[in-house]
């Protein structure tokens, strides 16, 4: 059991790195889908091993929404936008990889032994969750394309979901469902805005948006 958990955790970290290093937006989305799939698996394993039946629903929802629906929406968006270009970043990929490694170290250090967060089980996931959140923020701050920023936001959300699952065995079901609903609506609205940005700015570079100052 423990080794399975460790294995899934490792895979999750690899998937997070995969999102960061992908140079094509399509690969980024596939990496996000994989990340979400692993998240669903981890949720299922937690639910099964701790006998927490209500966690099955978030696991299924993660599988359905984040692994299938949202990546599908993203692929439709990039097909309609006709994006072939690579992911554009303010810093190059090796450097963001370096930063990412640093962030993983920080999250392991900050939540290491003797700190005051001591969950009943699965403590090793907390640094993973925090580094996923960090990765998402890194993506949001360094990527130029509006669509990569949305992916960054989703990555943050995945990290927080993992945090909730492993620290507290999931929030109450009602809240969990509400969060899923919000995420879905957010993706749809942001997707619509990506089209609006494309029409108004003739491109989806978020750093073209410099009209408003002061």
């Amino acid at each position: 059991m423990a080794s399975l958990i460790h294995f899934l955790g490792m895979m999750l970290l690899i998937a997070s790195f995969w999102i960061l290093v992908s140079s094509q937006i399509g690969a980024c989305i596939r990496a996000y889908a994989t990340h979400s799939f692993l998240l669903a698996l981890i949720t299922a394993v937690v639910a099964w091993s701790q006998h927490i039946e209500h966690l099955i629903i978030p696991a299924l929802l993660t599988l359905a929404l984040k692994t299938i629906v949202i990546p599908h929406v993203f692929f439709r968006i990039i097909r309609r936008l006709g994006i072939r270009k690579e992911v554009e970043s303010y810093i190059n990929i090796p450097f963001s990889l370096l930063l990412a490694v640093l962030l993983v170290f920080i999250s392991f250090y900050a939540t290491g032994e003797g700190r005051f967060l001591k969950p009943a089980a699965f403590g090793e996931f907390i640094p993973l969750a925090i580094s996923t959140v960090f990765f998402g923020m890194l993506m949001m701050t360094t990527r130029k394309k509006a669509i990569s920023q949305v992916l960054g936001l989703l990555l943050i959300e995945n990290g927080l979901f993992l945090m909730a699952i492993t620290m507290t065995f999931g929030m109450p079901l009602l809240v969990e469902m509400g969060i899923f609903f919000d995420v879905l609506i957010a993706v749809m609205i942001m997707g619509l805005f990506v089209f609006k940005i494309r029409d108004a700015f003739e491109g989806i570079d978020a750093d073209d948006m410099t009209v408003l100052k002061g």
């Binding site: 509006a146 109450p172 957010a186 940005i197 009209v211 408003l212």
Partner: protein, 519 residues
């Protein structure tokens, strides 16, 4: 009999009623009637005597106490003013008007926005409150961008992204609170663990260290939404690009709702840690917001951004008031949030009038308002004095209370800084307002354009004393829009002299809850 459910259902039902394809006139009627009926319902519910001290609904996930009652009054009150104003502002006939489909969508999102804000203040479950606050961002993003101009899209995008990231930090804080509750929970209580009332009753058993950490995340997260510096960068963009009635809602009540979110956690943290940790943080970010907003107010060139930065200032002041604490500080802060909501929305409404008259958001383009349109000039000038803290307007009273609380609490340095910067802001506002209202009218007439955002404003009435030989602009006076200005002015003037008894009792009760009284 009104209940929380009904108060929440009304805006939701009207949101969908507004979507029904119908002539513009009918949509407008549904739209305004929806806001009015929701307001009557909520106000009737709040002042109906049967709910005190608190009433629960939906398995304890929803709750109304005096604190949420005050905010519900605000949301629906400003909501009605804003809906009536929008009825004149966006639903015009003639060339350059907005297409009926867009208007229906606008009306729908407007009511959804009201619904999410009401849900925010009525939620007892902290998770549901988070969902509702994220919902406010999603519902209002389309309201910020009504015209698909470059600048509006940029503002809406920044608003969406920044607030969503901020809010996700707040979710982290909520997970931490839940974690600290789970560690102490007895079996059978698992459904209650995120309920604010439950957490408050068990506050002593929660891990204070975890709660401190959680409060920092909540403050940054909801603080982004509340416009506290240095997380306020979305605010001037969104407020300046949104149409006037939406700016009024954003500034008047959305920021207040986010502040309520912070306040709920502040009460909890204070009860759990028994220390002034969260007070200090609130004072720090509050004072910082006032300081950061000042130079932008003094040097501002765009009058809507001027108002937006003033919102940063006033939210900072309210946060500082909550931090100063004591019965006086809490009462003052809640009163301040209320006064700010009405005064600032009045100013944003008059900014809509200004934009019609001058077709520009530049302060430099607005000159001789008093001679061009005396009615608007007087209202705008008085409202600007009011927001700067001039007696006898209501803002003065609450600012005075907050500062007195600070001095009584021995926070001399914070109070001195606040006083200094409030004085600077006062001077800045006076200068801007007098430049805009006094003096001769602008001679170089701004360009007219056909799109709906810069409509031809046809004067039906004769305008007296226009300088020079310029063509008297024609304005179709909208009775709806003008009456909103008059009502707003009456409210802020009256609140400066006299707060009606039931309202005063309500604010006092809210202050007691904010002080941590467990009822």
């Amino acid at each position: 009999m009104m209940t929380i459910d009904k108060a929440l259902w009304m805006p939701l039902i009207f949101a969908f009623l507004c979507l029904i394809p119908s002539p513009k006139r009918i949509t407008r009627l549904t739209f305004i009637a929806g806001a009015v009926i929701s307001a009557i319902g909520a106000w009737g519910f709040v002042f109906g005597a049967s709910w005190s001290p608190r009433v629960f609904a939906f398995n304890g996930n929803l709750m109304m106490d005096a604190l949420s009652a005050v905010f519900a009054l605000l949301i629906t009150g400003v909501g009605v003013l804003s809906a009536v104003y929008a009825g004149g502002y966006l639903f015009k006939e003639g060339d350059g008007s907005i297409s009926p489909l867009r208007l229906r969508r606008y009306a729908c999102f407007f009511h959804l926005f009201l619904f999410t804000m009401l849900l925010t203040v009525f939620s007892n479950n902290l998770g549901i409150m988070w969902i509702a606050i994220e919902g406010t961002t999603l519902a209002s993003a389309f309201l910020v961008n009504v015209d698909d101009k470059k600048s509006s899209i940029e503002a809406a995008w920044k608003y969406l992204i920044l607030c969503s990231v901020g809010i996700s930090l707040a979710l982290f804080g909520i997970i931490l609170v839940y974690y600290s509750a789970i560690a102490q929970a007895a079996s059978g209580e698992s459904g209650l663990l995120l309920n604010w009332t439950f957490l408050l009753s068990k506050a002593k058993q929660l891990d204070p260290q975890v709660l401190r950490l959680a409060f920092i995340f909540i403050l940054v997260g909801y603080g982004t939404k509340a416009g506290l510096a240095p997380f306020h960068s979305w605010l001037p963009d969104a407020h300046s690009q949104a149409p006037a009635p939406v700016s009024a809602l954003l500034s008047g009540v959305l920021l207040s709702c986010a502040t309520l979110g912070i306040l709920r956690f502040h009460i909890l943290t204070k009860a759990a840690t028994g220390s002034a940790f969260s007070d200090t943080l609130l004072i720090f970010f509050g004072v910082l917001s006032v300081v950061v907003a000042t130079p932008f107010i003094l040097e501002q060139k765009d009058y809507k951004r001027l108002l937006a930065y003033s919102s940063v200032e006033h939210m900072g002041l309210a946060a500082a008031g909550l931090g100063f604490g004591g019965a006086l500080g809490l009462y003052g802060a809640i009163l301040h949030i209320m006064n700010h909501a009405f005064t600032k929305s009045l100013l944003f409404f008059s900014s809509g009038h200004l934009y019609y008259l001058f077709h520009s958001k530049e302060i430099a383009d607005v000159k001789g308002l008093l001679r061009k349109n005396a009615f608007l000039g007087i209202i705008f000038f008085l409202a600007a004095l009011a927001i700067a803290g001039m007696p006898p307007f209501s803002i003065f009273v609450s600012e005075f209370l907050i500062l007195s609380a600070g001095f009584l609490g021995g926070k001399y340095i914070s109070c001195a800084v606040l006083l200094l910067f409030l004085a600077l802001i006062f001077v800045g506002f006076l200068r801007h307002a007098s430049r805009m209202t006094l003096g001769g009218p602008n001679t170089n007439q701004s360009k007219q354009s056909g799109d709906w955002g810069r409509p031809n404003y046809h004067f039906g009435k004769e305008i007296k004393s226009l300088g020079g030989s310029e063509e008297p602009p024609k304005v179709e006076r909208s009775l709806l829009m003008d009456s909103v200005l008059v009502v707003g002015m009456i409210v802020i003037l009256t609140m400066g002299f006299y707060i009606p008894g039931p309202l005063n009792a309500l604010i006092q009760a809210a202050g007691r809850i904010a002080g941590g009284t467990i009822l």
